[in-house]
């Protein structure tokens, strides 16, 4: 399974943080991979519409997220969501991906 995660917007633009992150679930440690799979399942990711709670005009400095998941059966789905992410399960997934983004050291 592979997850692509990109954040747009926010109070400032950082070149180092703006690129799409590609996360290979199989390269993660066991607990992390399990957590990630669970969060994707709990968010019912493949059943989500392409836009989840994105207003027509995003508020200033607001983050928008693009998440693509390619599962082991080669299913691919991309969604876009925006802060504040009202769907708590999707919000958990976003928070996990954000935290994972920083873990370059393990």
């Amino acid at each position: 399974m592979r997850i692509l995660f990109r954040t747009e917007g926010g109070f400032a633009y950082f070149p180092g943080l703006s690129a799409e992150r590609s996360i290979d679930a199989d390269a993660l440690t066991d607990p992390k991979r399990r957590a990630l799979r669970r969060l994707i399942r709990q968010a019912r990711f493949f059943d989500l519409p392409e836009r989840v709670g994105v207003p027509k005009r995003c508020p200033p400095d607001c983050h928008r997220y693009f998440i693509t998941v390619i599962d082991d059966d080669d299913r691919v789905h991309t969604i876009m969501t925006a802060e504040p992410v009202a769907d708590s399960r999707l919000a958990s997934l976003v928070a996990y991906l954000q935290a994972l983004d920083l873990d370059d050291d393990d």
Binding site: E8, F11, F66, A86
Partner: protein, 358 residues
Amino acid sequence: MPIYPILPPFMLRHIVRAGDAEERRRAQYTLARDRVIRSARMELMANIQDVVVMTPPPPKGRRGRGLRRTIYIFKPHSRRKLPGQRVRTEGRPPLGDPAVDEAYDGLGIAYRFLREVFGRHSVDDHDLPLAATVHYSSKYSNAFWNGEQMVFGDGDLKLFSRFTGSLEIIGHELTHGIMQYTAQMNYTLQAGAVHESICDVMGILLKQWSLGQTVEASDWLIGAGLLMPGINGAALRSMKAPGTAYDDPLLGADPQPGHMDDFRRMQHDNGGVHINSGIPNRAFYLTAAALGGNAWERAGKVWYNTLCDKRLRPHYGFKRFARLTLRSAAELFGEQSIEASAVREAWAQVGISSLEGG
């Protein structure tokens, strides 16, 4: 299964037609993903054309009520709704939670600043109560205005610390609120960069006023102290020297230009609103530097007057905004005033000239 980075769709379609099985699959994934991203961008472009002048919403507050603050704490595990749980209201003693108390104090300073310097009564000029939510989400590295209130994250504590820690950020977010009741500037491309810059200008003026700092004493930094120790940078933006705020292996190098020659055309960041804002930011700094003393007394008045100017339209880019600042300076201080020539000279130094006429 790797996926292509963002490639032009015609190239991907070519790969779908002509590539081998593996390449075809990759290209199809990429097309599927990019379709969502592109539709978001098209929506952005649609908003750009959406320049019908909207009348600002009627003020929500009632003038004369004065300062009324409410600070909330976000409850991520129950209802993820803003504002969250109310923890401190006007007149209540400090809670001992730095984020709560910084937001409370910051909003108080901002209210007095607007009132004493510009005669403005809160965000809507009618004493709109000020609300802020802190501890938003978890390890959240951002602050934003959601149309009704301010929202602050605690930072991931790896790159960023608490967003309430910088008074100029509180002022910046509050100004997004003021813009909603005044010029309603667009939030894309040049107009968006003007919008962003006005928020930085008001944010830095708030900081300078609260510290009693002159033009010379100010660091002109937005988000000073926000980067964690070990991150190579002083702040998120520098108004005096755009492009020099940080240069770090994780964050990259500060991309802000300080002159039209380096204007960035891009699709990210709503068309570079937090990047190209460096140009009008520096024009403001240069105006203030030429005048010296307290920036809020003269340069700040000119900019504030422009932000409230009914002639400022939502889609105005740098040049038309610059013209209005010059008109404001002329109206406030006289056409031959040193203020007007400081404004003219400052814009010329960032590559925007011929402001007369039009």
